[in-house]
Structures are given as structure tokens and as C-alpha cells.
């Protein structure tokens, strides 16, 4: 990295900078913001940044050409936080399959092979052989994923590339490339901002924000109660702790995997501690059986749920649906997303058993309904006013409400995307997120010989649907690395070099 240009003034954003879409080097220098040169910068530092950097390191880019700007210390930090809140501690198994390995660009050996080898347990191999026909999909333990990410991060020198800070915006540079404005943690830099000047920038900032169901949001604000109405992605151990002290009722909202996980926790606790917990489960869309437009497109479902192993049909990560979507534009693309979309959860045998027991035992009640409002009852508990499609009105009273409906806010809630949409020519795709090319370059944001890429949930709705998953982030990373190779930033990866690099991975030797 070149030595920073010495700042002249305050080192903060000026009105001139804020209002100008494309900046010159002089403008930045005049504002007194220290400037560092780095050819490739990735913003975010989560799983998406990690797999991209992993690809580039394996393709041969030295650590001195890459910086990861992030507000977290290690790439799986946010993921681990969200999974732990939503009831997947390290020993539990995650959703994605055996060969979705963010620490290994080849996906071989798969996690199942590794766990089978380490634990001398051939049953895992039998499981992957017979899934999803005779068995549920085999999926790795969260702990296995994190340990392997740590090993790979060390191997590629991840922490040599990490810069702590909050990315404020990315702007085009007159003459090519981009400026990334970063707010370093307080007390770590002499100025309020620092700027990186790069030819390539990659955005992988994850979810723009937590989104609440509007009626729950209203309740929380109106009554200032953030304890009894919770989102499953927030820490909410208090719910489970309370239920251990006395019998209680919980309302669950949502029909996705997070609802399944929360239910499992409630059922497990009920059994383990001999509790009396009553569970009321409200589905906005209640699925009663196989559903879909025609015989070629029918998904299994029942008891309220739509069943699917992963968050998209499996072939979006490499098969037919990936190939089909790659060709679609505009309304046709949006329609295809609609056809295969919708909230869903895997049909796991354990979960099915627990729910069946709950229904038989009269402590699990699931029904279709739209919640019109939530109010406190005279005894301080929570009354939900629920109207079902057939006109039935129910008013379940509960001690806690857990919102399991998802966490995706509009992309413009994220400052970096809002700025990009306003100043850099980026625009929305047919489902309202960031429109990217097939190689994940943000459309309409090219700057000279530079390129701006994005991956992760913000790019859902593009030519590739499975973006917000480990494997999807790796698909994006590969497209980006290959595009960078085409532009001469790194060497192409052919079969021989790939094999050599794989052996390095296997022996845990540096790239």
C-alpha cells in the first residue's frame, strides 16, 4: 500500500464531496481526508467478503492488493450471532448441504466426508447417499463450519487484509476506479474519515436491516415493550427462561425455517424440563398440501408449511433453474422468482414428530390468519386480534410473541446502497434490489477501467437466484474472480493450477 497522502484539513466529508457524484483526487485531498491506494477492496467482511477474497487469494492475488473493510473481527461473526439467536448454537446443524463449504472453493471433500472421517461415523455417508429420498438432507454442524472458516482464514492471511471501520459510501473517481469512504473506529485514526482509492470495489454488506411485522412494530413503539414482542433474530433467551419458571403461552408468527427452529426449541424445552408451554402458531399463508401452477412445478406442503430442503429449489445453484434464470429479464424474471419463491422450511423428521405430538397433546395450535393488531390485556399479557380468511376471529392471549417472518429490509435502508442508488447510477432489479450483471458487476456503475461488484442478499432478483447462501456467495465470487482475470487483475484458473491449489488447501499450506 502506498503511504497515505498527508491531510491538509479536518478530514471529514464536505458538502462539496457529498453533493458531487464523481470525485477527483484533488477534491478528496482538499477535504483533508487521508487516502490509501489499494487495487481491490471488499466492504462488509462477512461470509460474502470472505469467499470472494478466498477465491482471489487462490487465484494468486497477494494480500497486499486486497483490503477487507468491516465492522466485525472475523467473517462468521454476524452469521454466528444470527444463527445463535435463531436457535442454532455450534453443536446444532445448519440448513445448507454437505458441499456448500465457504472455506473450500471446490466443495470437496464435503462436510459429510470430513465429519464422517473425524468422528469415524459412516452413517453420515449413508445419509448423503440416500438424501433426500430415504433421509433428510445431511447438513453440517454450525461448529464445523466455523472451525473450518477459521482454518482457511488463517491460511489465506485474512487478518493481514482486514481493516476495521464502517464504510460510509463508495463514489466514482474521475479518471477511473472508486473512492471508498470509511469511518474508522474512534481513536484509531487522526481523522474522522479515511479514503481508499481502488480500481475494484466489492460490496458484501449482508442484510440492510431487521424488518418487523408492522403490527408488532407498532405495538413495540406504542407501549415501549421490547421484551415480550421479539424478533427471532434478536437475542430472546428471556422467553425460554420465563417459560422455565411458569406455564406460559407463546405466539409464533411465520412459516419459514426460523419458525421451525424456534418451535423445536420450545418443544425440546417442554420435554427436557417438563413444561406446560402452549404454542399458538399463526401462518399468514397456510399451505395444506402440494402447491404450484402445474404438474411440472409443484412443491410439497402441509400443516401450514411449504416444504423445501434449501431456501430455493436445489437446481438454482448450478442446474436447470440457474440456467433458465440466467436468460431472463424484467417481468419474466420477476415472474420466475415468484413461481419458485415463497417462504418454506425443510420437512425434517424430528420436526414433524414434535408437531404431531403437539397437535395430539393439545399444546400446539396452528391456523391461518392475519393479525390486525396486538394489544396488552388487563393482566399485562398480549392479545393478538387475528382474522382468518373464512372470517373467523380469534384473540389468542400470550406471554410472548416471536416474530419469525424474516429480516430483510429495503436495500435503501442501508446507507451505502442508498448513496449508490442516488449518486452512482445503480438501479433496482425487477424485484426491487440491486441490479447486477451475470458476473455480479453492479449495472451502470463502471468507472474507467474499474468495476464495482456486489453479492449477497442485496442482489436477489438478478440472473442468479441463490445469492444469499454460502454456495450462492461462492458462485458470485467465482464470477467476480473470473471477470477480474479477464480484466488482467489476476491469472485465470485452469485445471492444473486448480488441482495444485486444492492440494495446498488439503495440506493447509499457504496459497
Amino acid at each position: 500500500m502506498a503511504t497515505p497522502h498527508v491531510p491538509a484539513a479536518a478530514g471529514d466529508l464536505t458538502p462539496e464531496l457529498l453533493g458531487t457524484p464523481e470525485w477527483t483526487d484533488q477534491m478528496v485531498a482538499a477535504a483533508g481526508i487521508p487516502m490509501h491506494d489499494i487495487p481491490f477492496l471488499t466492504a462488509g467482511g462477512g461470509i460474502g467478503s470472505f469467499v470472494t477474497v478466498d477465491y482471489l487469494r487462490i487465484y494468486g492475488v497477494p494480500t497486499s492488493h486486497i483490503r477487507v473493510v468491516s465492522n466485525i473481527d472475523y467473517p462468521w461473526q454476524t452469521y454466528e450471532f444470527l444463527t445463535r439467536c435463531s436457535q442454532i448454537p455450534r453443536p446444532e446443524r445448519i440448513r445448507s448441504d454437505s458441499s456448500s463449504r465457504p472455506d473450500n472453493i471446490w466443495g470437496f471433500p464435503s462436510y459429510a466426508l470430513e465429519e464422517a472421517w473425524k468422528e469415524k461415523n459412516p452413517r453420515y455417508l449413508w445419509n448423503v447417499l440416500t438424501e433426500p429420498l430415504l433421509n433428510d438432507y445431511w447438513t453440517p454442524r454450525a461448529g464445523t463450519v466455523f472451525e473450518n472458516l477459521e482454518r482457511e482464514a488463517k491460511r489465506i492471511g485474512y487478518w493481514d487484509m482486514l481493516v476495521k471501520g464502517q464504510v460510509r459510501m463508495v463514489r466514482k473517481r474521475v479518471g477511473g476506479g472508486y473512492f471508498t469512504v470509511v469511518t474508522p473506529p474512534e481513536g484509531t485514526a487522526p481523522t474522522k474519515r479515511i479514503v481508499f482509492r481502488s480500481r475494484f470495489v466489492h460490496l458484501a454488506v449482508g442484510y440492510p436491516g431487521l424488518k418487523f411485522l408492522p403490527d408488532l412494530q407498532e405495538f413495540r413503539q406504542k407501549y415501549g415493550d421490547y421484551q415480550h414482542v421479539v424478533n427471532a433474530y434478536e437475542p430472546h433467551e428471556q422467553v425460554y427462561e420465563f417459560l422455565k419458571t411458569r406455564p406460559g403461552t407463546v405466539v409464533i408468527r411465520g412459516g419459514g425455517i426460523v419458525a421451525s427452529r424456534v418451535l423445536q426449541r420450545l418443544f425440546d424445552d417442554r420435554e427436557k424440563y417438563n413444561l406446560q408451554t402452549q404454542i399458538v402458531h399463526i401462518f399468514r399463508t397456510f399451505i395444506t398440501g402440494s402447491h404450484g401452477p402445474h404438474i411440472w412445478m409443484r412443491r410439497k406442503g402441509g400443516d401450514g408449511w411449504a416444504y423445501q430442503g434449501f431456501n430455493y429449489p436445489k437446481s438454482v445453484w448450478g442446474g436447470q433453474l440457474k440456467a433458465e434464470m440466467r436468460k431472463l429479464e424484467g417481468a419474466a424474471r420477476a415472474q420466475k422468482y415468484k413461481d419458485m419463491g415463497g417462504t418454506n422450511t425443510p420437512k425434517r423428521r424430528r420436526w414433524q414428530e414434535q408437531m404431531a405430538q403437539g397437535r395430539a397433546g393439545g399444546y400446539y395450535h396452528a391456523f391461518q390468519g392475519v393479525v390486525e393488531k396486538v394489544e396488552p390485556a388487563p393482566d399485562g399479557r398480549l392479545v393478538s386480534h387475528v382474522r382468518s380468511k373464512d372470517g373467523t376471529i380469534r384473540q389468542p392471549v400470550a406471554d410472548y410473541i416471536i416474530d419469525c417472518t424474516g429480516l430483510e429490509a429495503d436495500i435503501a435502508e442501508h446507507r451505502v446502497f442508498a448513496d449508490l442508488l442516488q449518486y452512482s447510477g445503480a438501479y433496482r432489479n425487477p424485484v426491487g434490489r440491486l441490479e447486477v450483471e451475470r458476473h455480479f458487476e453492479v449495472k451502470n456503475t463502471a468507472s474507467g477501467d474499474g468495476a464495482l461488484y456486489a453479492s449477497g442478499s442485496a442482489t436477489l432478483g438478478g440472473y442468479f437466484p441463490g445469492v444469499d447462501t454460502f454456495l450462492g456467495l461462492q458462485v458470485a465470487a467465482q464470477e467476480i474472480a473470473d471477470d477480474l482475470a479477464r480484466r488482467g487483475f489476476c491469472r485465470k484458473m485452469g485445471p492444473v493450477r486448480s488441482t495444485t491449489q486444492w492440494f495446498k488447501w488439503a495440506f493447509n499450506s499457504p496459497v
Binding site: S99, I105, W106, G107, F108, P109, S110, L113, V128, L129, T130, E131, P132, L133, L134, G292, I295, W296, M297, R298, R299, K300, Q308, G309, P313, K314, S315, W317, G318, G319, Q320, L321, K322, A323, V475, Q478, D482, M493, P495, V496, S498, T499, W502
Partner: protein
């Protein structure tokens, strides 16, 4: 790898031309119940291999069609293994009819099944993992090699 139609066909042809050829070269001299000049045995062995490839292209169309009934448009690993039964039986009976006798002698049953199953297993094993090592784009392209 979740295949597309072209991916299936390419993967099959590629793996038979590599793994299949190597396995055939190694295994033919040791096949049970065979006799005669080694050149003839290899002619028979490669005739079987080529037939698996040619008939396989037709089979792949059928598998692709059947896959359309699956919501996920996927092809479970086990299907890839068990389809040796239908393919093996069809080929075995075709060879019995003698339609390929002008090219090479049909192998005895023991030799045919040993050869066929060993090739099948090796191809299936390579397709379910090691193939991804040299070809990092293969699994994201529905099994296309080109």
C-alpha cells in the same frame, strides 16, 4: 452437481472417455470367463464402453424428462448410482441379440457385469466429488465441461 440436459450428456461422455477408458485398460485382462487374444478382449471392452456412452445419451434425455416432475429439478445422488440397473440390463440384452457382433464379440455375462459395474462405480464416485477439484466451474454449470 445438479445437472442440466447438456451438462448430463457432457459429463457422461467426458467421464467415460477419461475414467472409463482408464478403468477399461486396467480391468479387461482380469475379467472373469474371458479368453482369446488380448486385442480381441480390448475390442470387446471398448465396444461395451462406447455403447454405454451412445445409449447413455438417449438415457440422459429420459432422465432429464423424469427430472421435470421434481420441484427442485435436481437428481439425487442415489439415482445416479441406481440407474446402472436399467442401463446395464438394456445393454446386456442388446449384446445378447448379437447386433454388435460385427464390431466385436459380445462378452460373457460375468465379464460384462464386472466391467460395467466397476466402470459405473468409478465414474459415479468421481462425479460426486473429485471432479470438482480440477474443474471449479463444472458444478455451477449443470455439469457442462465446455
Amino acid at each position: 452437481m445438479v445437472p442440466t440436459l447438456f451438462g448430463r450428456i457432457q459429463t457422461r461422455l467426458f467421464l467415460l472417455a477419461t475414467v472409463g477408458v482408464i478403468v477399461t485398460l486396467i480391468i479387461v485382462p482380469f475379467l472373469p470367463g474371458t479368453s482369446g487374444p488380448i486385442g480381441d478382449l480390448y475390442a470387446t471392452g471398448f465396444m461395451v464402453l462406447v455403447s454405454v456412452a451412445v445409449l447413455g445419451v438417449i438415457w440422459e434425455f429420459i432422465y432429464h424428462f423424469l427430472m421435470q416432475f421434481r420441484w427442485e429439478k435436481d437428481w439425487p445422488t442415489l439415482f445416479g448410482l441406481l440407474t446402472f440397473i436399467n442401463e446395464g440390463l438394456l445393454l446386456f440384452f442388446l449384446l445378447r441379440t448379437g447386433i454388435l457382433d460385427s464390431i466385436a464379440d459380445a462378452p460373457p455375462a460375468g465379464a460384462f457385469w464386472t466391467h460395467f459395474i466397476v466402470v459405473w462405480l468409478c465414474v459415479w464416485l468421481v462425479a460426486n466429488g473429485p471432479m470438482r477439484v480440477p474443474f471449479i466451474r463444472w458444478r455451477f454449470r449443470g455439469g457442462r465441461v465446455l
